[in-house]
């Protein structure tokens, strides 16, 4: 609407040249895998020059729809209209030729090359001999007309996450794509960087240079930047419209339906509790041997959740790995209840230290082992599974597994199913069953809800709260600030390997945390 108004007021002079934004429409898109309908009869309309949000839970069919538009998948039925003309997109190259570009959640740049090199090699018509001088000149000229720019001559690996994301977007504009699909583009950015980039893109769509289809589940970004939205649930179109006319509650109801989510456990209040987990001067290196965790001190009390916020890649995963035994300390010590602690099997059992890592199939399970075996990781060397020292009985292992499968409602064909055949939510439940079914004194949690649907997320968050209320000291690392704000008693912010900001949840807010995440405090 603002775009049309601007167009009427003055003839548009696009900084990008004569090409205009592209409109795109899907008609009756259907994709069937085997017997599963991943996408059923989805029709959405993205107007040229609009900023359109595509909402839905994990598994709702957003990526399938986008992959059909991009030509990675061939739809079983249905078609794509581009600027009103039916266009068959048989492969990603066709999508690129008609001007549809995609920015993925994770970076696709070559880290060792500079921005210039990354842009030039991304072109379809790279000459065999590249005249770098000429290319640089034309890039400089192009960037002068762009709303934002990035350093062109340093290797991409030395750029900040926000700059890399800008470069990903610039790459698509450089390739002259006028319909951009952004797949959760802000998950690697600070709130400030996210707002900046989305704001700049919004000015480009308003000017009619660009159309954007953004996959997101952050309502805040959707209401702030998107003109229109569409909602998918279980592969079907549930509705959509003009963002300004629909409340967040309404959108969220469209996304999850009338399903009942598990009630969040109430936060129990504790009097002064003893310190259980003490991180004293922890330092560690990343895989390249560079300092990643820099003298982190943190004390966590019984019945307390301390949430560590931060942009991913600021040392949080390294810190968690030192606690779970996946990474060596270069200096510092852990204490549990004032006694030295190192992550060996004996100490884990003695101090009742448990963990819920991110992506549990990757970090806490063995894919090819059965559900029963995976459930026994904590208990296989103790009675009743190991009655005689060193020997193992499969009978009690399966019996225990059946018990846990029932208690935690893990959906599996049976205890002998390889765990890799279970859905993400059920793998997560199996890990919860393994780690939380006995008494927990210390719980180490990293991005527990990554890639899960709302029901599973609600389940896991209330389980974590239950453990806290049961007196466990909980260390929670999450890239999702909302999760931290919801669960934590205290918030710590990690930036460039350091924790310089710690505050009780009642004495801080999103803006302060955001600044600390960016390294200002």
């Amino acid at each position: 609407m603002s775009a049309t108004a601007a167009a009427l007021a003055e003839p548009p002079v696009s900084p990008l040249g004569a090409k205009k934004a592209i409109g795109l429409e899907t008609i009756g898109m259907t994709k069937i895998f085997g017997s599963m309908v991943a996408l059923g009869d989805v029709s959405i309309k993205v107007k040229p020059g609009s900023f359109h949000a595509l909402l839905g839970e994990n598994g709702a069919g957003k990526s399938t729809l986008v992959k059909c538009i991009m030509g990675f998948y061939q739809p079983t039925r249905g078609s794509v209209l581009i600027d009103g003309r039916e266009t068959e997109i048989s492969n990603p190259k066709v999508a690129r030729d008609v001007g549809i570009g995609m920015v993925y959640q994770h970076f696709t740049l070559v880290p060792s090359l500079t921005a210039t090199e990354n842009l030039v090699i991304a072109r379809a018509d790279v000459p065999s001999v590249i005249d770098w001088k000429k290319e640089k000149k034309s890039l400089d000229a192009l960037f002068d007309r762009m709303p934002f720019r990035v350093p062109l001559d340093v290797p991409v690996s030395s750029l900040a996450a926000g700059e890399k994301q800008k470069l990903e977007i610039l790459k698509q504009l450089y390739l002259d794509q006028r319909f951009l699909i952004l797949d959760e583009p802000t998950s690697v950015l600070t709130p400030g960087e996210a707002d900046e980039i989305l704001g700049l893109l919004k000015t480009m769509t308003d000017a009619g240079d660009l159309t954007i289809l953004m996959i997101s589940h952050k309502f805040r970004e959707v209401t702030a930047f998107a003109d229109e939205f569409s909602v998918l649930r279980k592969g079907e179109y549930m509705g959509g419209g003009v963002t300004a006319n629909v409340s967040v509650a309404e959108m969220s109801r469209m996304m999850i339906g009338d399903m009942k989510l598990r009630e969040r456990a109430a936060r129990k209040t504790f009097e002064k509790q003893p310190v259980v987990l003490d991180l004293a001067g922890i330092c560690a290196e990343d895989d390249e041997g560079l300092p990643a965790v820099d003298a982190v001190n943190l004390k966590i009390r019984a019945g307390e959740i301390v949430g560590i916020a931060g942009v991913s890649g600021n040392g949080q995963s390294e810190l968690i790995e030192t606690l779970t035994g996946q990474r060596d300390l270069t200096s510092g010590r852990f204490f549990v209840k004032d006694q030295p602690y190192e992550p060996s099997r004996e100490k884990m059992a003695k101090f009742k230290v448990f963990g819920l890592p991110e992506e549990p199939l990757k970090n806490a399970c063995v894919r090819r082992m059965t559900v029963a075996e995976n459930l026994a990781f904590r208990s296989f060397d103790q009675p009743p599974i190991s009655k005689r020292r060193g020997f193992l009985s499969p009978g009690p292992m399966r019996a225990k597994a059946k018990e846990l499968i029932a208690a935690y409602r893990v959906k599996t064909p049976g205890p002998d199913e390889p765990i890799e055949n279970l859905s993400g939510g059920n793998v997560q439940r199996a890990v919860l069953a393994r780690e939380l079914s006995t008494q927990v004194e210390v719980l180490i949690v990293a991005n527990p809800c990554f890639g899960l649907d709302f029901a599973s997320i609600a389940e896991i968050r209330s389980q974590i709260m239950d453990q806290r209320n049961g007196g466990a000291a909980v260390l929670l690392v999450s890239e999702d600030l909302d999760e931290i704000l919801e669960l934590s008693d205290r918030v710590a912010v990690m930036s460039e390997g350091r924790i310089d900001y710690v505050a009780p949840i009642g004495e801080t807010d999103r803006a302060t945390i955001g600044q600390a995440m960016a390294g200002h405090h």
């Binding site: 963990g355 063995v366 090819r368 060397d381 193992l392 002998d416």
Partner: protein
């Protein structure tokens, strides 16, 4: 998914069928791979103008047709069983160790080297167990070092075990051509004989030596170790996902080194039996390629210790028929190596088929 409301019997039956479907995959795919490699090899034979039918019937006769050929086959199978274990045990930890031949050579050499100074004064009841232990320890040390280098120094175990094989051969040559050379043997540089009284005889009633029995016992013990002990469970967790193993506080380094040492001990024993049951001394005859064929055996058996025995017998039979094929068909001795090589390549290709064939999927999953 099985309906939980179904009668208990029906549920148990469906569960059994599903388990059978899944495990049959591990039999059917290697068998199909063997047949496919046989067909490919037939094409090769046709190209050189020979009859595949004649070839395979000779393999049958030379390997399995008579009591004599069976014994020949079993004699060749026994070192293969032990060297295959040298691949299968580290494979459970996700490692590809291909240097079992080095542990075999060194084990055989150690057994001979320790026996020779003892022959003059010690009884065979002392010499034989000492040789046995020396071979196992030498092999354990050799492949244990591979595990240590892998875990504590990040050195690729495939490369290091291969290079250590060359070092083992050099050590053998250094001693049999130097300090330990038997001057009375003009033909082939060898150590002095260990003496007939220290040789381990055949299994009564056969010409097959005790190495076969030792190999079968070792396979059963390794199966129990891997499937019925906490050590084996921890090793499988480590092999399946190191990060998960670390997250459970398992002593990954210790598991890696101990497993490799056990593997090396098996290959070292293969060397012991070659010396104490066949050659009677250590020389370059130890380097007969059993360690390398053992790799093929272990892969064909999908690193399952119990499957190693029949697979080793099959490959032992093919090797045993080599001489007959050479004489009757005027084909070079290396022809059976071509067949082995083809089998290995086809087998590796077939690895990609697991989980892709719908017929092995449990119903409704």
């Amino acid at each position: 998914m099985a309906d939980t409301a179904a009668p208990a019997n029906g549920f148990a039956l469906a569960e059994t069928i599903d388990r059978f479907r899944r495990s049959s995959e591990f039999v059917v795919i290697p068998v199909l791979a063997l047949i496919a490699s046989g067909l490919l090899f037939s094409i090769f034979l046709l190209l050189v103008g020979k009859s595949p039918v004649e070839f395979f019937s000779l393999v049958w006769r030379g390997g399995f047709g008579t009591a004599f050929s069976w014994q020949n086959t079993l004699v060749r199978a026994s070192p293969l069983i032990l060297t295959a274990l040298c691949v299968a045990i580290p494979a459970r930890l996700g490692m590809t160790v291909i240097g079992g031949e080095g542990a075999l050579v060194l084990g055989g050499f150690a057994a001979a080297a320790i026996a020779i100074p003892m022959t003059s004064w010690a009884s065979p009841f002392v010499v034989m167990p000492v040789m046995f232990l020396a071979a196992a320890i030498a092999g354990a040390f050799w492949i244990g070092a591979v595990g240590w280098l892998r875990h504590y120094r990040g050195i690729n175990e495939t490369i290091s075990s291969l290079l250590l094989f060359y070092i083992a051969v050099s050590i053998l040559n250094f001693f049999v051509e130097g300090a330990l050379r038997d001057p009375s043997d003009p033909n082939k540089p060898s150590t002095a004989p260990i003496g007939a009284e220290n040789m381990i005889g055949p299994i009564p009633g056969t010409s097959v030596h005790w190495g076969l029995a030792a190999g079968i016992v070792a396979c059963i013990l390794v199966w129990i170790l891997m499937n019925r002990t906490t050590f084996g469970f921890a090793a499988r967790v480590t092999g399946g996902n190191v990060r998960a193993a670390q997250g459970q506080g398992l002593p990954v380094g210790r598991l890696v080194v101990i497993s490799c040492a056990l593997a090396g001990a098996c290959a070292g024993l293969a060397g012991y039996f070659e010396v104490a049951a066949i050659h009677g001394k250590a020389n370059a005859s130890l380097i007969a390629g059993y360690g390398f064929t053992g790799i093929l055996v272990s892969f064909l058996a999908r690193h399952n210790p119990l499957a190693i025995v029949p697979v080793a017998i099959l490959l032992g039979g093919i090797a045993a028929s080599g001489g007959l094929v050479q004489r009757r068909m005027d084909l070079p001795d290396a022809t059976v190596l071509v067949l082995q090589g083809l089998m290995f390549v086809v087998l590796l290709v077939s690895e990609t088929m697991y989980g892709r064939l719908a017929i092995f999927k449990p119903k409704g999953a």
